[in-house]
């Protein structure tokens, strides 16, 4: 029974890595986007697994219900028939691959300093209420700032998206 979370974690990790690779290697952008939807869903599951229930719901609500739908929307708007025939990576893919490998290996090796950390014994508790208190308490200033950023993004998106004529 105690192995169940670990099993779930490994399965999710594998799914996440696979879908992430899919995002960056799929030839069709639409497939990439669908793959990203899957990856994000897995991340939401990971959040739930780590006891962040509110975050999981928010992840699904914002990323999948919002960002990814708009992303797909734009993909559908901007796609042209011959796009799926074209190569989707540029000339520097090998250099980039080397660099990404260096970064990934360094990160994984760098995180080894945490390898002796004990497994957490604290049982997760529902987070929504306390998260709300945190956001409107200690984190009030960044919270308000972020709402301003959202407003600015809204205005900016309307401005950029406007047709030149109107």
């Amino acid at each position: 029974m105690s192995h169940l979370p670990s099993l779930v974690f490994y399965a999710m990790s594998a799914a996440l890595i696979l879908t992430a690779i899919g995002v960056v290697t799929m030839r069709s952008v639409f497939y990439s986007a669908v793959s990203l939807v899957a990856a994000l869903t897995v991340v939401a599951g990971l959040f739930l697994l780590y006891g962040a229930d509110f975050l999981g719901a928010a992840q699904v609500l914002v990323y999948i219900g919002g960002i990814m739908i708009i992303m797909l929307f734009v993909v559908m708007l901007s796609q042209r028939p011959h796009d799926s025939m074209e190569r989707q990576t540029n000339d520097q893919w090998f250099r980039a691959l080397c660099l990404a490998l260096v970064i990934g290996i360094s990160l994984v090796r760098g995180f080894r300093i945490f390898i002796n950390q004990m497994v957490s014994t604290v049982v997760p508790v529902p987070t929504s209420a306390s998260l709300g208190r945190l956001l409107l308490g200690d984190m009030l200033l960044p919270f308000e700032t972020v709402s301003l950023i959202l407003l600015a993004a809204l205005v900016g998106a309307v401005l950029f998206g406007q047709d030149k004529k109107s």
Partner: protein, 101 residues
């Protein structure tokens, strides 16, 4: 399933995102890769919060902010992509070279 595992997963996903950002020709692909990197960072934050500071929720709060900023970034980025597409009829980065001699 320890702290190290979570962080390693985060690092791997992050480097995949870096690769995507550096290689995708399509601007949308770049945006998606950036989302991947965001999520890798989010995983790291949640994991740190879970294992190092289980008593409070600051890590999760930060994740919320990251999600919010990511949403803002995606919206502005996508509207920019649409504007570029309207003008250039292309979403490939190598065509966005108006300043190229």
């Amino acid at each position: 399933m320890t702290l190290y595992h979570g962080l390693a997963l985060s690092g791997i996903v992050f480097s995949i995102g870096v690769y995507g950002v550096l290689t995708r020709r399509n601007v949308l692909g770049i945006l998606m890769s950036i989302e991947l990197m965001f999520n890798a960072a989010n995983i790291a934050l949640v994991v740190f919060n879970r294992y190092l500071h289980p008593g409070n929720l600051w890590g999760q709060g930060f994740v919320l902010f990251v999600i919010t900023v990511a949403a803002a970034e995606a919206v502005v980025g996508l509207s920019l992509v649409l504007a570029i597409y309207r003008n250039l009829k292309s979403v490939y980065t190598e065509n966005m070279n108006l300043l190229h001699g």
